[in-house]
Every structure is written in C-alpha cells, then in structure tokens.
Amino acid sequence: MTTKKKRTPHSQNDRWVVVAADSAVETPKKDDSDPTFIRLRNPSTDAASLYLLGSGDVQLYEVKAFNEDFHSWFIGQTVQRDGRLLYVTPMDPLYLLLPYLIKAGKEGKFQPVDQVVMDEDFPACTRLLSCTRSQASLYHVAEEKEVGSLKFQRYSQERTMEWLKKKAERTVKTLRKSNISVGEGVKSTTYVRVKQESETQEEDYLRYAHGLISEYISEDLSKALLKHLQLPEHSSPKEVEPPSKKRKLTDKPLEAGEDYTKFNISDFSRKPPKKMSSAQKALAKVDKTGMKSMSAFFSPKGKAENK
C-alpha cells in the first residue's frame, strides 16, 4: 500500500529461481550437513562448474541454468533482473571421479581411491567419495583388488567403454520415450543416407546420445566412445564442404548441354569491378573542385594550425 516503492540495493546474487528434486533440498538429518553448492572440475571442459551436494553429501546434482536474453522475474513484490531458471538434477558422481582415475591410471598401479581423488584447485572433490553411488560403482570403470579390508583400484579403459556404452543405450531409450527429435536437420544435406530409414534413425539416436554423454566426459574419451559405438567419425565442417568450386582451367570449351564456357576462361578469378551504392554514386558526381581532400585534415601539423 505504500505510495513510493523503495528500491532495494542492486545485488544480483542473493536470490535464484531454482527447480530442484525434493531430495536435493530436503532438510538434513541429524549431524548431516546442509545441501551445498560446490565448484568442481567439469570433466568435459576441464574448467570449474557448479554442482550441488545434497544433505550429507549423499547425492550429487548438476546445476544448469536456463538463460535467454530479455528475461526478468517478478517475485512477490520485487523484480529480479536475472531471468535465469536454475535446474538442479541428479547426476552420477562417477563422471566427475573418472578424470582423476584416468590420471592416476597412467601410472599403472592399483591405488586406494581416496589417494587418487585429490585436486588442489577443487579440494571439495573428495566429498564426491561420500556419495552413495561412488564407491559401489567404481568397478564400472576400474579393476579392483581387495587386500584385507582395503580396496585398490586401477583405471580400465575397456570397462569404462562398456559402462559408457550402457549409458548411451539407456540414453537412447530415454530419448525415444521423451520424443526428442534427434534428426540431423540442416546437417543432413551433406549426409548420404544409404541405410534403411529405421536403421538410420537408430544411428541418429545413438549419435545424439553420444553427443549428450560427451558433455560429461573428456574429449579423448568421447572420441574413444565414438569408435566403441561403431559410429563413423563425425566429419568436421571443413571436410563437409564440397570440393573446391574452381574448375580446372582448360583452353578448350567444355562439351556440356548447358553453356558453362563463360566460367571456363582463365581470368575467372578476376574480381568484378566493385559495385557502388547509390549514395556513393551520388557522391562521385559531386563537383569537387576547390574542396580539400579528407586526408588533408590529418596531415602533419603546421599548415592548418599556423593560420
């Protein structure tokens, strides 16, 4: 009911609009920590990304933001300039553990996982190991040895590939169920469909799933997975380009139904005279006698200033 609205100080980061699973925000049981946002190394970009650990570090969530130009929120009696919508969705912690295992795996030794998962830049990464799925699912990507009560792991590329393949297959199922269009769209113009339609569809789904999973693994793994899934390497845009349009220059006219000979002369590459806009044409016609050239104004000082 106030007549004049007070403006709250401009602070961007005190509030967010979030869609999260109930499990992500549920109040902690006794002794458990609160759900917290943490920064961890993104396995795909190798840079920092934001994640959320549920209460007690039991479950990992990734944080994605819907972000489009020209959006703001009206929240209660306030306006929020930031029109983002954050999504907090469950995520398999193994994706984040994998880079550390791979790095340690290069030494070829079996090591306890808590010695492997360490990162100066992101010390919080050790908390990943408390997630319920972490320890139990390491066998998907590593060979394991048990000595007494201690467990040792060594990264295994074969196991990882099998694990990722299963992920891809499950993703395909979900993609089909959610009716997500996976067609190549515009790209398909350079894609020769030799297989039957249904098979091609299957391959489209698998390639799409591979692309999605590649958001969570390193580029090297992504390439290896492509091979493992027996998908042909995606041709880079450069290779896709049709062969050079310049024809071989010959002196003889081409024998073709249509007359292409005008393109077949040696000075084909010569550029046509530059076209002038109507304004430029009009300017060109102006009587320039007695007018200084523009460059005269920028010539070394002296002449103009001394006057």
Binding site: R39, L50, E62, N67, E68, Y208, L212
Partner: protein, 310 residues
C-alpha cells in the same frame, strides 16, 4: 452521461450508445463523426458519432450546437443534455479508446499507429449505425491525416453513403458539432474522475488537462513515476513525453525487439552464426569450434548452460 460501463473496466475500449430513434430507421439520415482527446498524454481518446434524419438538420441548428472548442465546459454539458433530450430524432454513439488501448496498440510488435486506430474507430462507429438500422445517406467527418485519402478510404468502405471529409468539419456541419460535443463531454467526464484500477494508495488527482504542455500535467507525471512500472494505465506510454521521462528517470528495460541493429551485428550479439559468415573466405567459424568446447545441441536448443558461479 453515464460512463459506468467504461469505468467498470477502463483498461479496454468501450462503446456507449443512445437508443436509436425510430425515425432514423425509416428516413434518410446524416451522420457526423468527431473525436476528443487526440493530443493529451493522459486519459482516453473518445470517438463520437451523432445522427439524425436529413430533414431534421435545421432542428439541430436550433439547439445552437457549435464547435465544442468554442464552448465552455458548462455549455457543453448543457448542449449534451439537450441532445440527449432530443432523442425522438437524434442518436449518438461513442467509442472510448482507453489510454491502455492506445499504448498497447502503438507499442506492440507490429505497430498500429494513432491514425489507423482513429480511422478504425470511426469506421466501427459508422458500421454500428448501419447495423442498428440507421438509414445513412450522408456522413461528415473531421479529418485525421490527409482529407482526400481518408475520404476515399471511407467511401470505399461504405458504398452508397456520401462521405464528406473536411478539416474543421466540426464548425461547418452542425451534425459534426453535435458529435464533437458528445465526444468531448465523455472525455471530460472520464478524465475528471479517473478510476485508477491500480493499487496506488493516495494518488494525486490534480493532473490538469492532460495535455503534455500543461505544467500541472508535467508535474504530475514527474511525481507519479514508478521506477519499475512507469505509470498507471491512465497514462499513454506511447507518447514521447512519457518515453522521455521513462528513459531518463525509470529503470532501463530491454525488449526483444527494441534492438534495431540488424544482420551480423545482432547475430553476433546473440551468439548466432550469421548466414553470411558461411560465404566468407577462410573459415573463421571452424577455427572457433576447435578452440572452444561446443556444447551439445540438446543444451543449446534449450538455452541451458553450465554455471561456474551463482
């Protein structure tokens, strides 16, 4: 004049009309069109029509209707009362275009300017008279924009009716004067006791005439500006007076379509690849692709991004 119907919801356009006199359904009639409140930054624009049998034109003169601008408010009220009392042969109808209608029309994505809005209001009222059974033969209009074009437009729209569009028609033809009185009285009433639908608390009712040049109106606009919402619907947002004030005093708001830059510049800002770039020599885009991580289209199509910080 009972404006209750408009006041019930003054955010939209509203039509008010008298009963149609029986003679108007049987005898040839003339009709005048005029408007009130075209210029003000506050309040509605009102379109009015008045009609009567051609044979009764002289009776109208006896009422001494004249151009509404030459009359005092009291005289106009008096004349409107007389017109309303002459209901045996005079009918009227009004189209009240709320300030909100004017704002939203002029500021929408495909602009609908004030002249088009005016013409359509006039056409709507003439059509209303025809639909009500008035035997229209002559229509007199005070012009909006070039008179000839407007006359041609109306003549084409209403074949069989003789349309006369003249500047200053309100002082030339009594039937137009009558229409102008109806419009002006309705406008005065609606502005005088504007019913603010917004929850503004104590709002200052001393806003003057509503014309941008009126110092009272200026002062009111300065005082009532809300940094986020701007103004109540009483104010025409499409007026340059309003826009200047909003630009300088209110929070800047960016809209999807207020960026008139086109082509590559806009595309670059939106992180799109311009079509043109594909035809350029040397492939700058493929170089960019190899440097930075390409997010999968599942995410880019849904405008989803990873975050580094909150």
């Amino acid at each position: 004049m009972d404006l209750g119907e408009f006041e019930a919801d003054n955010s939209v356009s509203c039509r008010l009309a008298s009963a149609i006199p029986d003679v108007c359904k049987t005898e040839d009639c003339c009709l005048g069109i005029d408007e009130a409140g075209r210029g003000p930054v506050l309040g509605p624009m009102v379109y009015g029509i008045c009609f009567c049998p051609v044979a009764k034109k002289e009776d109208l003169k006896d009422l001494k209707v004249a151009d509404s601008k030459t009359l005092t408010e009291a005289q106009r009220e008096d004349l409107f009362r007389k017109l309303d009392e002459a209901k045996s042969f005079v009918g009227w109808a009004l189209q009240i275009l709320s300030p909100n209608t004017i704002s939203t029309s002029m500021l929408q994505r495909s602009k609908y300017n004030l002249n088009a809005l005016s013409h359509d209001a006039a056409i709507g009222l003439v059509q209303f008279a025809l639909d009500s059974g008035v035997q229209l033969k002559e229509v007199f209009v005070d012009t909006v924009g070039p008179a000839e074009k407007y006359q041609e437009k109306l003549s084409q729209r209403f074949p069989g009716v003789e349309v006369t569009v003249r500047p200053k028609a309100d002082s030339l033809f009594p039937i137009v004067s009558a229409a102008s009185i109806c419009a002006k009285v309705a406008r005065d009433h609606s502005v005088k006791d504007w019913n603010f639908p917004e929850d503004l608390g104590e709002v200052d009712a001393d806003y003057g005439s509503g014309y941008p040049s009126d110092p009272k109106t200026k002062a009111w606009l300065l005082k009532e500006l809300d940094p986020v919402f701007g103004y109540p619907q009483f104010v025409r947002f499409s007026w340059s007076t309003t826009q200047t004030l909003l630009d300088s005093k209110a929070v800047t708001v960016h809209w999807d379509d207020d960026d008139e830059e086109d082509g590559e510049k806009a595309a670059a800002r939106q992180n799109n690849t311009s079509m043109l770039s594909y035809f350029k020599a040397g492939s700058k885009t493929s170089a960019q692709q190899s440097n930075t991580h390409q997010t999968h289209r599942f995410f880019t199509e849904r405008r989803l991004r990873s975050l580094a910080t909150l």
